[in-house]
């Protein structure tokens, strides 16, 4: 089994590295952080370079590559910067639903907008009282003449801000089914439709540059044709793209870990205390060795999960969930160690690693937390998943 990347993949990694070197300037990023502004310019440039529609078919302005290439790129962007990387990696939040289940007209209209960095997309799944998998959804979509009329409130909508072009919304289209997972459907809602109110969810631990919103839909009307996939099939479709979300957050987490590692490794090689470089203390060397080992382990797990998505497969559930579980925990441990390696500087915003730690926690909490992942992994082992 050859674990080395082929020439094409190495080239992709290098392209991302060059992009990061040219665009992720420290002063620019800290300026964005201090003003809590979306990395607009970097996002547009990423669109130009094809980083936002990596695995969209070329017919929809994509690069026609696969999940493996996507996670290579996302990891590289997060290594460059955990917060900017998250914005770029999550720019197409929910587009996997469109890719897998949308019809041709919907895909042709909306996917290019994301690939070209015209708009962001937002996945509106969770609600204040919903379960982690879409249970107890209360947002309704009632068919009136040839339109769906949507009413409800969604929370933790990533990209629910001003640059969003459309929402991918999980709705209850058959209210007679009660609060069960049956009777749910996915609808595409253009962001400029009347009746949508967005509210930022306030200060949080990480992903500072991302808009995370509560979105209220009040008598929002969309054409019948905005149904993505089959009516009543919403829950299954949500489950269907979960593996993809696992891999995306795993790639962000892994890149965050790698970025924290590189920064702290560089620091301990130049910082002197007690008459020697910090790297020359055995404890430091063992810490570095552990961090590097955990990162490589997580990377192989991520690659395994991503490769199971080859040829547009929805991926192996066990491996995709394991990849997220390991990558996120590794990111937390590595970033925590990185802070410690920097000493007092590790606690100072200017030195970045504390932000990588906070962003790592976001990756661990979003897109399926540790608890949810372990439940799902166990089910695959027992034979239910």
């Amino acid at each position: 089994m050859d674990f080395t990347l082929n020439k094409e993949h190495q080239q992709i990694k290098q392209t991302v590295k060059d992009f990061v070197k040219g665009e992720f300037k420290k002063e620019i990023i800290h300026d964005l952080l201090n003003t809590t502004a979306y990395p607009e310019k970097i996002w547009k440039k990423a669109g130009d370079l094809g980083f936002l529609g990596i695995h969209f078919p070329e017919a929809y302005s994509g690069e026609g590559l696969g999940m493996f290439e996507k996670i290579l790129i996302v990891e590289g962007l997060a290594t460059g910067d955990s917060s900017v990387g998250a914005c770029l990696g999550l720019a197409g939040s929910g587009t996997e639903m469109l890719l897998r289940h949308g019809d041709e007209p919907l895909k042709k209209t909306w996917l290019p907008q994301v690939a070209d960095a015209t708009h962001l997309s937002a996945y509106a799944l969770m609600e204040p009282a919903s379960g982690s998998n879409g249970e107890h959804i209360k947002t309704t979509a009632i068919l009136k003449h040839h339109s769906w009329v949507i009413n409800g409130t969604k929370t933790f909508v990533l990209n629910g801000g001003p640059r969003t072009g459309f929402y991918i919304v999980l709705c209850r289209t058959s209210p007679e089914q009660g609060t069960s997972i049956k009777g749910l459907s996915i609808l595409l809602v253009p962001a400029d439709t009347k009746g949508i109110t967005r509210m930022d969810m306030g200060k949080r631990i990480g992903y500072e540059l991302l808009d995370i919103c509560q979105v209220q839909f009040k008598d929002v009307e969309v054409p019948f044709s905005n149904l993505i996939g089959k009516a009543g099939n919403g829950y299954e479709q949500t489950r269907d793209i979960f593996n993809h979300a696992c891999l995306l957050f795993a790639a962000l987490a892994l890149g965050t870990a790698q970025g924290a590692f590189e920064r702290s490794f560089a620091h301990v090689r130049q910082r002197t205390q007690f008459g020697k470089k910090i790297i020359d203390f055995q404890n430091t060397r063992h810490k570095i060795a552990s961090m590097a080992t955990d990162i490589e382990m997580a990377r192989l797990m991520l690659y395994q999960g991503a490769l199971s998505c080859e040829n547009n497969q929805k991926g192996d559930t066990k491996h995709c969930h394991m990849a997220k579980l390991i990558a996120c925990r590794t990111a937390m441990q590595v970033c925590d160690s990185a802070i410690q390696l920097l000493g007092g500087y590790g606690y100072i915003r200017e030195y970045d690693v504390e932000r990588f730690y906070r962003d790592a926690k976001m990756a661990e909490l979003l897109g399926g937390n540790t608890h949810t992942l372990k439940n799902a992994i166990a089910e695959t082992l027992i034979g239910k998943g």
Partner: protein, 380 residues
């Protein structure tokens, strides 16, 4: 005496719950504690917990002091930080080694909270390697001239007096060549530099200190001219004492976080989530509670030994490293229990995670603590 202290402890507990905690989110978002709250802290005697009664403080024992910190940290860590240096590293040098005049001049206003005391040891090249400080002090007539820069100094913006360590003999350095001075705000050549933007403890302000030909009178050498060159010993004793305080702070935060998690799980049970779906979380709560119980015994026992006059250097290091690592671990687990909602500042948990992280770094990193502990084990 015990009843009196217990009344005080409960008073502080109520103060935290009714006054400090309701303001916690705002303090976090503003990055500052309103002066009205600081004034209430003054009138409760919080600035003079460890200062003897003869100087206007409460003269608490070590055990009593850490029990108060345990209460005070059931909210944002910055409140304890505001009084921490006045009770600890900022003032203890004067209490341990100061002249009678220095004690009677400075300790009463510190205890009353009118003066805040800060501790200035750390520099850009002297973190864990405190002996590597570069700030110098040269005698010139009746004054010492200080030159250098200090970094990450807590409460620099509100402090009136700064226990400052400077090299007075370049040959001897930490072995008899470092002196502790009381530098006062407003002394010529002394200025406060840029403030740090930190991961947490946002309501607690740390700054650079700049000494540029700063004139400090001879009278301000801690312990007088006889103590010139003895400052490093003073500094180490002061830091030694601080470890139990940090242990108390970490313990208080952990306990509060556990209680928030327990409330959360009770809510989940109330909203009909099947108990079998909560087993993993229940086991997490059990582990948290067990660690906290162990930490509390360790902390209280060590504090008692110290009050009995024993040398607790090694044990205090154990307490610091155990309690602070526990606090990080518990806050992290708590965020998992709160899931997505845990990431929001308004839900409190994430602030605890960011606040407690510094405890494993300052006043002696966990690595330094492990050196102290193992050195003691291997000592012949």
């Amino acid at each position: 005496m015990q009843e009196e202290f217990e009344r005080y402890r409960l008073k502080i507990r109520d103060f935290v719950e009714q006054v400090l905690e309701p303001m916690a989110v705002q303090v976090e978002e503003d990055g500052k504690i309103p002066e009205s709250l600081v004034e209430q802290m003054r009138s409760l005697g919080l600035f003079g917990l460890s200062i003897p009664r003869i100087y206007g403080g409460l003269g608490l024992t070590t055990l009593e002091e850490v029990m108060i910190y345990e209460q005070l940290t059931r909210t944002n860590a910055c409140y304890r930080s505001r009084i921490g240096t006045s009770n600890g590293i900022g003032s203890m040098g004067i209490l341990f080694d100061g002249t009678d005049e220095q004690k009677t001049t400075f300790l009463p206003p510190v205890a009353a909270g009118r003066y805040t005391a800060a501790f200035a040891l750390t520099e850009a090249d002297a973190g864990s390697d405190a002996a590597n400080i570069r700030t110098t002090a040269v005698l010139d007539g009746n004054d010492w001239i200080l030159n250098g820069t200090k970094q990450f100094i807590t409460n620099a913006d509100t402090a009136t007096i700064f226990t400052t360590l400077a090299v007075t003999d370049e040959e001897k350095r930490s072995r008899g060549g470092v002196t502790a001075f009381i530098v006062e705000k407003g002394m010529p050549g002394f200025s406060i530099g840029a403030g740090d933007v930190k991961m947490g403890l946002r309501g607690s302000h740390t700054h650079e200190l700049i000494f540029k030909h700063c004139r400090v009178p001879k009278e301000n050498v801690i312990g007088g001219m006889d103590m010139v060159g003895q400052g490093f010993k003073t500094a180490m004793r002061v830091l030694d004492k601080g470890r139990l305080a940090i242990g108390g702070a970490a313990l208080g935060a952990s306990q509060k976080v556990l209680e928030l998690c327990v409330d959360r799980v009770k809510q989940m049970i109330k909203s009909k989530i099947p108990v079998q779906d909560l087993q993993a979380i229940q086991f997490d709560l059990a582990d948290m509670a067990t660690q906290i119980y162990a930490a509390r015994q360790m902390l209280y026992h060590t504090a008692k030994l110290k009050d009995q006059g024993e040398n607790v250097t090694q044990k205090a290091s154990m307490v610091k490293v155990f309690c602070t690592e526990m606090a990080s671990h518990i806050a992290d687990k708590a965020l998992d229990i709160f899931s997505q909602e845990g990431c929001l500042t308004q839900n409190r948990i994430e602030t605890f995670l960011r606040d407690v992280r510094l405890y494993r770094i300052y006043e002696g990193t966990s690595e330094i603590q492990r050196i102290i502990i193992s050195r003691d084990l291997l000592h012949e």
